[in-house]
């Protein structure tokens, strides 16, 4: 069965620090990859997605992620975080031609001014 692992459960950073959140998935075939963000008290929002093409994907709010097929990874990065990036971040995957979105357990990011 497919699974998604997010190894960082809770990350605490100061503003302007760089961010990298890990995401690994277990599926050998073609995948669609997503990062969702959930700000406190708000609904899940799509941050960025990868379907095909350039493995370096740019998202909203300065986030980017890189798909490395050989490592089954899709890590999220931001060069300089802001206090407003405080949120829960979920990596998710669907495999080719299926609608089931498999979520990782999430990473809580806290950014202090």
């Amino acid at each position: 069965a497919q699974s998604v692992s997010q190894h960082n459960h809770h990350v605490i950073l100061s503003e302007a620090a760089s961010l990298e959140l890990g995401c690994n998935y277990s599926y050998g075939g073609t995948v669609n990859l997503f990062w969702y963000v959930q700000y406190p008290g708000q609904h899940l929002q799509l941050l960025l997605k990868y379907f095909s093409g350039d493995p370096l994907v740019k998202g909203i709010k300065g986030f980017e992620a890189e798909f490395i097929k050989s490592k089954f990874s899709f890590n999220l990065r931001k060069p300089s975080v802001q206090w407003s990036d405080t949120a829960e971040y979920f990596c998710a995957v669907t495999s080719y031609n299926t609608d089931k979105l498999i979520f990782g357990t999430g990473t809580r990011l806290q950014v202090f001014p």
């Binding site: 609904h43 799509l46 379907f51 031609n97 299926t98 979105l101």
Partner: protein, 114 residues
């Protein structure tokens, strides 16, 4: 703006008292999903509809039912809520399209069971 709407945003029900949560969408997507999200956990898929075709997850309790009377609306019925059913319930939609299945989420309904 096209969107996914969930009502109510907050719902309080008593132990064992049936409750219905609703979801509507203006995106005209043919696939609709219901997820349960407990505190500090990932959303867990309960079931989804492809048009009118209902797909239940194997581990979704029988206590949870769903109805989709038309493309725009989908309901989640909890027949006899227990304390363990207190959670955020998320509705999502997607358009059946090759290789993508990007899902659009509603704001959720937070269910409290007293």
């Amino acid at each position: 703006d096209a969107m996914v709407i969930q009502n109510p945003r907050y719902q309080v029900t008593q132990f064992g008292k049936p409750v219905t949560l609703s979801c509507s969408q203006t995106l005209n997507h043919n696939v609709m999903y219901w997820y349960q999200q407990k505190s500090s956990q990932a959303p867990k898929l309960l079931f989804h509809y492809y048009d009118k075709d209902f797909n239940n997850e194997a581990d979704t309790p029988d206590n949870f039912q769903s109805r989709r009377p038309n493309t725009s609306f989908c309901f989640l019925d909890i027949r006899s809520p227990g304390l363990g059913d207190a959670a955020m319930y998320l509705c999502a939609t997607s358009r059946e399209e090759a290789n993508t299945y990007e899902q659009y989420f509603g704001p959720g309904t937070r269910l409290t069971v007293t």
